[in-house]
């Protein structure tokens, strides 16, 4: 029974962490190129509704997910056009995107509140899924969960082992020198922003098509903002994004398990529900206080506009 419980908590933690990982990894790449896009919540909302609608009409969740990525990308293009081409303030543009995206998603999503999708069956990985203790929790998950691990591996490789990743980081560190060497700073930033948008859209699609599977207004419920927090919390390193997302998911799930266990805790349930947010703040503080680790990984030009010809 205790093993079952562990397995169930592990399973739920992985599920809760997955959308955060996908969105945060995308944002990490965007920020590594020096672009701060705070619009994750809006891109997720648009990704969620577009993915849901397309999955419904096409009858295929994967086509839906792809459409969600495209929609997230379109939203991030809007942001990129404002902040990279028109050089608007990135914080303001990102906030605008967050507000606009949530509103637009609610608006176009109206007819889809009446729709439900068939659940996508989990994919048990042969061999691994029968491992004791962790088999069920880790390896009988939705395919998107495995995709999030692949994304992690690919992004880690890209950032630290590939030439393109080196260029991307250089653009984030010092756009002026990157430009001087002849790299197309704005184009690279566009690509990084679009990539982040695509993953935010995928994160939204995970929630609406694979996780719930439902569309309702307000269903992103702050997850986009938490993904943004994770990136800082991870000091712009992918492996820490993974840890942070599962930590957050774990705290959230644990308080649910505590409530559902029937164990009588004399703490108001509102305080338990606040734990994941407080935990985020605490870890953020613990990580941020180490100024050196931030300085090592922080993209120095983050949030600054860059004009090649000035």
């Amino acid at each position: 029974m205790e093993q079952d419980l562990f397995s169930a908590i592990l399973f739920a933690t992985v599920v809760a962490g997955t959308p955060l990982i996908i969105v945060a990894l995308g944002e990490l790449v965007t920020e590594r190129a020096g672009v701060l896009n705070l619009g994750a919540e809006g891109m997720m909302a648009i990704g969620a509704i577009v993915a849901f609608a397309v999955a419904h009409h096409a009858g295929n969740p994967w086509i839906g997910a792809a459409a969600g990525m495209m929609a997230g990308m379109a939203m991030s293009w809007l942001f990129a056009f404002l902040s990279l081409t028109l050089m608007a303030n990135q914080v303001a543009s990102g906030l605008a995107l967050a507000i606009f995206g949530v509103g637009l998603a609610a608006f176009v999503g109206k007819p889809y509140e009446a729709v439900s999708l068939p659940a996508v069956p989990p994919l048990a990985l042969p061999g691994l899924s029968s491992l004791p203790l962790v088999g069920h929790g880790l390896f009988q998950q939705q395919p998107i969960v495995y995709l999030s691990w692949l994304l992690f591996a690919a992004i880690t490789y890209f950032l630290y082992r590939s030439r393109a990743g080196l260029v991307l980081r250089a653009v984030g560190e010092s756009p002026a020198s990157a430009h001087a060497i002849g790299y197309p700073v704005i184009r690279i930033r566009y690509l990084a922003t679009l990539f982040g948008g695509a993953l935010a859209g995928l994160g939204g699609a995970f929630l609406s098509v694979f996780h719930t599977p439902l569309w309702v207004d307000g269903m992103i419920a702050g997850r986009g903002w938490i993904a943004l927090a994770l990136v800082v919390f991870a000091t712009w390193r992918p492996w820490r994004v993974m840890i942070g997302a599962y930590l957050f998911g774990g705290v959230m799930v644990s308080q649910l398990f505590l409530q559902g266990s029937g164990i009588q805790v004399n703490v108001p349930q509102q305080f338990l529900s606040a734990l994941p947010y407080l935990a985020t703040v605490v870890v953020l503080v613990l990580i941020s206080r180490n100024a050196l680790s931030i300085r090592l990984n922080f993209p120095a030009s983050l949030g600054q506009p860059f004009r090649p010809d000035t």
């Binding site: 303001a92 906030l95 605008a96 507000i99 606009f100 949530v102 637009l104 509102q270 305080f271 503080v285």
Partner: protein
Amino acid sequence: MKWIRIEARQEPDPLMRFGSPVLAVTLTVLAGLLVFAVLGKDPVEGFKVFFLNPLRDTYALSELFLKATPLMLCALGLAVGFQANVWNIGAEGQFIFGAIGATGVALYGGELGLANSPTLMLGLMMLAGAISGALYAAIPAWLRTHFHASEILVSLMLVYVANLFCSWLVFGPWMDPDGQNFPQTRSFDDAALLPTILEGTRLNLALPLALGLLLIGHVYLNHSYAGFKMRVAGGAEFAARYAGYSSRRMVWIGLLAGGATAGLAGMAEVAGPVGQLTDKIAAGYGFAAIIVAFVGRLNPFGIFLASVVMALFYIGGEQAQQYLSLPSAIAKVFQGLLLFFLLATDLFVNYRLRLGRSAHH
């Protein structure tokens, strides 16, 4: 790209600085007409219902200003921080704490004999509201100055915590014993309610208060040395700030100002149209105020206009539901569009567009 060039102006165009918000509002209205047309509604009708109905008579105007008041207050404080690139996006949480602080005074003030002196009661409530909001904003300020934790994220996380804390209060210790266990405090005594300033409406003392603060803000931001320093600090590198390196003083001033005015707005809400604390007290004013601050150019006079425009969008959205059967989300779409158009038209403040293939420099 080659056919349109973006050229830096020698100095910001003062005309465009104020022209771009006007242009943005105009573009939003035009986009609105298009949206109405696409949805199969008569655009003229839509325009009337959405943009003119909220202005049709004195009562409608009083409602417009009632809705705009908390936006004005929150946005003013945020603008002080934004000027110095201190990104407090948790005004919603500070609003809630202001409401909580003021409610504390209202609930226990009667026992201290304040019920007979509305002036003292309301004065204390305002003070409690502003201080509670500022204290709640002091958390991200302190974590930022001492541990370099990003105030964007900390202030935002604290919004969720504030909501839950408020929920605990109204479900727990502060629940109205005669309220059939619903999440609300008892209704405030008359002494703890802001007097209305226009007979027959809900418009109350909070509006002149907000206008007064806007005036003070105007003097502080534009005509004082401290305000000048804030602006200069804001011009400095943004990047270092996101990770946590900036002048501590600016962080403290920016966050405390935002917290205090948001807290005051929370006070005005519980002591104004609501008359009690409930778990639904924060109606998104803290977030909407971010748009107001930007659309208002971080400038008190601009904030006044922007908050009225935002309030118009909210009320227009309700009208569009009642008379055009459009979904409520349309108001949010318009708000987002407005901010986008403003950001886009802002380009003209510092740059100009030139048509034609670029000449060699």
